[in-house]
């Protein structure tokens, strides 16, 4: 655990006094301190291209009065700097008359260990694996023209000091290992990307030559794409594979169920609570409590322990995801979904691990039920316009389905749909729910946070496929 006051002219008790003084008539607020260490080691074009290390330290001071949020952040943890921030908050909130809400739930549960993954493996060992990845792939396929592989590791220590001195702390490890391959054959180039990660040591993911399976998967996707033909254009049936394709859930309904957009009534879902928004059999949860997952958190960035929040149960909209501010204004409780990218940013209600739970059909039954459509196995990113409800995601591995059989691979295409209606078009839910491999980052209001997704195979009756073949 970091001692934020060790090398500062500011003592903890002085900080506590400034916090309590600043927040005394506010409804909520806190001092958020963060110390993060991260590394990136990149192999590209047969060479170690980059080895870098970052250490970031700072605080964010927040005061909330009714709906108004005042925020100030700085890298300098000093008496002067905190006082300046305090003045800044006070000048924004000129006439406050609230009552500070001291209530914050407690839990002893932890969803990851207090480790520093960067220190657990030497630089030389990391470089050795990256070189092995490069040699392994290049010896496997003569069409390989480019290999990129990288390690990203991080340890983030946070401390939240609330008015009255109550303190909540967390130490969060996070790693990612990615491999990208480019193939070239007869003048045509295609790429394949795969990665793994989560809140454990590098070795938990890479031991016993496990990195080879990451390489194999990236190469397999690139090889499939090398044979792909133009994707169709228009509305058709879509079968989604299990796991990572759950970005569909994240984009189509996840963002629209975040508390802020619903309090402001700018989400297409704001007036649908308690109503049927999905087919029977569709249950979606957002869970921050799964051990070692990329989207898991012991406490959120306001200090609330995370939980498993049921968003949609058997087709019915049950809950939004809430931070403390939006929960208070909507007269409900925080779901432990208050997150920020780092101390430079304000808290927003965000997703953690968003999952559609298993049903009882098989992927085989879904494929057989489609005359003409596509089977989407892997995706790049997605995006949503939460107001109109329209969302997209980009296929990175997909096949056509003709007369109940999987046909040729098709080129990467964007799929577009309507969030509030898409889940009503789900006609089969598979029994094969799978977590994603631990690589997702979600962007909102310029802030990126690590998230996870999961789903079984599903059949969607109608979606627009954005190919070029009419």
């Amino acid at each position: 655990m970091s001692n934020f006051f060790k090398k500062s002219d500011l003592s903890r008790s002085e900080a506590e006094n400034i916090i309590s003084d600043t927040l005394q008539k506010c409804d909520d607020g806190e001092l958020y301190l963060e110390n993060s260490k991260s590394e990136s080691i990149l192999l590209d074009d047969n060479k170690i291209k980059n080895s870098s290390y970052n250490s970031d330290l700072g605080f964010g001071f927040r005061a909330i009065s009714d709906e108004v949020v005042a925020y100030s952040h700085s890298n300098e943890i000093s008496k002067n700097s905190l006082k300046q921030s305090s003045e800044n908050l006070k000048s924004t909130l000129k006439s406050v008359k609230g009552t500070y809400n001291h209530e914050i739930p407690k839990s002893n549960k932890k969803y990851y260990e207090n480790i520093n993954p960067i220190e657990q493996k030497s630089l030389n060992e990391k470089i050795k694996i990256l070189n092995e990845v490069n040699n392994y792939l290049r010896s496997k396929d003569e069409n390989i023209k480019q290999v990129t592989a990288n390690f990203l590791g991080e340890q983030k220590s946070v401390e939240i000091i609330r008015s009255g001195g109550e303190t909540l702390t967390d130490v969060r490890p996070l790693i990612r290992f990615n491999v990208s391959v480019m193939l070239e054959k007869k003048g045509r180039k295609e790429t394949g990307v795969y990665g793994v990660g989560g809140r454990q040591s590098y070795d938990s993911y890479l031991k016993d030559d496990n990195w080879k399976s990451v390489c194999d998967e990236a190469l397999r996707i690139a090889s499939v794409n090398l044979e792909s033909k133009p994707a169709p254009a228009g509305e058709m049936k879509v079968v989604l594979g299990p796991g990572w394709p759950a970005i569909l859930i994240h984009e189509a309904v996840g963002h629209g169920l975040e508390g802020d957009f619903n309090r402001k009534k700018t989400s297409a879902f704001h007036n649908l609570m308690g109503q049927k928004v999905a087919s029977e059999g569709v249950t979606i949860v957002d869970d921050g409590t799964i051990d070692n997952r990329r989207g898991s958190l012991t406490i959120d960035d306001e200090g609330t322990p995370t939980e498993k929040t049921v968003l949609i149960e058997n087709g019915i909209l049950k809950n939004f995801m809430q931070d403390r501010l939006n929960a208070r204004l909507m007269k409900t409780k925080s779901t432990g979904s208050g997150r920020r990218e780092n101390y430079r940013h304000i808290v927003l209600p965000r997703m953690r691990n968003t999952m559609m739970l298993s049903g009882n059909q098989t992927q085989d039954e879904m494929i057989k039920a489609v005359d003409k459509g596509i089977f989407a196995v892997s995706f790049g990113g997605g995006q949503v316009d939460i107001t109109s409800g329209k969302f997209v995601f980009n296929c990175t591995e997909a096949y056509e389905i003709v007369d109940g059989k999987i046909g040729s691979p098709i080129k990467g295409a964007t799929l577009i749909g309507d969030g509030p209606s898409i889940l009503k078009e789900v006609s089969m839910v598979g029994n094969d729910m799978m977590m994603d491999p631990g690589i997702g980052t979600c962007g909102k209001a310029g802030q990126g946070v690590p998230v996870g997704v999961a789903q079984p195979s599903i059949l969607i009756n109608k979606m627009t496929v954005g190919g070029t073949k009419l």
Binding site: N88, K145, T387, T464
Partner: protein
């Protein structure tokens, strides 16, 4: 207040000195400070205030052809000592790369011109609030407007770039940015749109009322959209989307994509990639330009480049490392382009709309559908159906797709270029793309 040159130079010199003492043969350092103050309004009321004071340092050390880098927001000497020691240690353990080096001395910027990038004016939060009040009141005239969120940011920054070869320079910048996001609703739909203005000088910022009104009008006209069928149709890209196509071009001609062989424009220098009428410029010395600079992030002097001349690709965007790899000299584009733009075409916006009996006017795209390896393009889109030069009705839930190799050849441009962003394009029409809808 933002830190002065002297403070930043002192930190930079300390780092270079220490790196040398600890065994680095060469090193470079960037120290920057950025102070931002933002006020957000929502539905004509104060919603958020945000002050940020960011210090940052990044150091790269070389030992011969070995290289490593560190960065930190903690500029206390204690911390810098630990980090630089770690950086040098990591450098020793990182394999050699023959192309690693500081930029050639004769390419470095010799003088720093005043490009008029810093406005000393300080706008108090109360004045920001006045601006936002005017903006939101102008934006809220129509009953269909159900939510307005607007924001005003003042940013002042300063930096120093220094290296062990004796380069040491930096300068202040300022920006004043106002934006407004509007939600409108009718029986059938709810839609969102925005308007934005960002300038180096406060006095150049768009009028609050005009900005608010424009954001509101752009939102209301999107209500009750329809979905159209799948077809091949001419696409007209609004300027705010057209600039994205130019950005994709810039990524595809970056020397890193070229040297790695991962660009569809590899080996296309001196070949025709656009039609005869197309010229692309990157002009770093525009006064008050949002992308203006004297030198790139390695200190290399940045001259104006005509990247595309009458349809022919003339240059890649080259930095030191990839330049050495490609056997080309850096043209001062480490960190990307400066003020990048398509030169005006020769017909008016109106004539462009009129040039086809039926076309689609796109105002927003979503998704990350640009693949610079293959040139494939497929994104979700929102816009309007245009018939005989008139906007007929709004359209959404469609995708547009094509391949940049073909799309580039089919670009025609209007003559309505303005310098609203760092990368700018006139309104653009591309024929031969496929729309997927119903």
């Amino acid at each position: 207040m933002v830190k002065d040159q002297e403070f930043l130079e002192k930190k930079a010199a300390y780092c270079l000195g220490l790196a040398k003492k600890l065994g680095a043969s060469e090193s470079s350092v960037i120290v920057n400070n950025s102070v931002s103050e933002t006020v957000n309004f929502r539905n004509k009321k104060l919603d958020e205030s945000n002050r940020s004071d960011d210090l940052g340092i990044s150091i790269t050390t070389y030992i011969g052809k070995k290289k490593s880098s560190i960065s930190s927001s903690n500029l206390l000497d204690d911390n810098l000592n630990i980090l630089i020691e770690k950086c040098v240690e990591t450098t020793k353990n990182t394999p050699e790369d023959e192309f690693n080096s500081l930029p050639d001395k004769d390419l470095l910027a010799k003088e720093v011109k005043d490009l008029n990038l810093y406005d000393d004016t300080h706008i108090e939060n109360d004045q920001k609030i006045d601006y936002l009040k005017k903006l939101e009141s102008a934006a809220s005239n129509d009953k269909k407007i159900v939510n307005t969120e607007s924001s005003f940011t003042q940013n002042k920054s300063n930096f120093i770039l220094a290296n062990s070869g004796g380069f040491c320079a930096g300068y202040k910048r300022s920006s004043f940015t106002a934006s407004s996001v509007i939600v409108a609703k009718d029986e059938k739909s709810m839609e969102r749109d925005y308007e934005y203005s960002s300038k180096c000088f406060l006095k150049d910022l768009d009028d609050a009322e005009e900005l608010g009104k424009q954001a509101a009008d752009q939102t209301i006209r999107k209500l009750s959209p329809r979905k159209i069928g799948s077809e091949k149709i001419a696409i007209i890209f609004d300027k705010r989307i057209a600039k994205g196509i130019l950005s994709t071009f810039a990524s595809a001609v970056s020397s890193s994509a070229i040297s790695r062989g991962t660009s569809f424009l590899k080996d296309k220098v001196n070949q025709k990639i656009f039609s005869d009428r197309i010229n692309v410029l990157d002009k770093p010395d525009m006064l008050k330009g949002l992308g203006s600079r004297n030198f790139d992030s390695e200190g290399v002097k940045t001259n104006t480049l005509k990247l595309v001349d009458q349809g022919i690709l003339k240059h890649y965007l080259i930095d030191t490392y990839n330049g050495k790899k490609l056997n080309l000299k850096s043209n001062g584009r480490c960190g990307g382009t400066s003020n990048l733009y398509f030169e005006n075409g020769n017909i008016s916006f109106k004539d462009l709309l009129n040039s086809k009996s039926k076309s689609l006017y796109i105002t927003e795209t979503i998704g990350h559908g640009s693949n610079i390896v293959t040139g494939d393009y497929s994104v979700g889109a929102t816009g309007f159906l245009v018939e005989n030069g008139e906007f007929k009705y709004p359209i959404n839930e469609i995708t547009i797709a094509g391949n940049f190799k073909e799309m580039f050849k089919n670009i025609s441009l209007a003559n309505d270029l303005e310098f609203k962003y760092a990368t700018n394009s006139p309104t653009m029409m591309i024929e031969g793309m496929v729309v997927a809808g119903k």
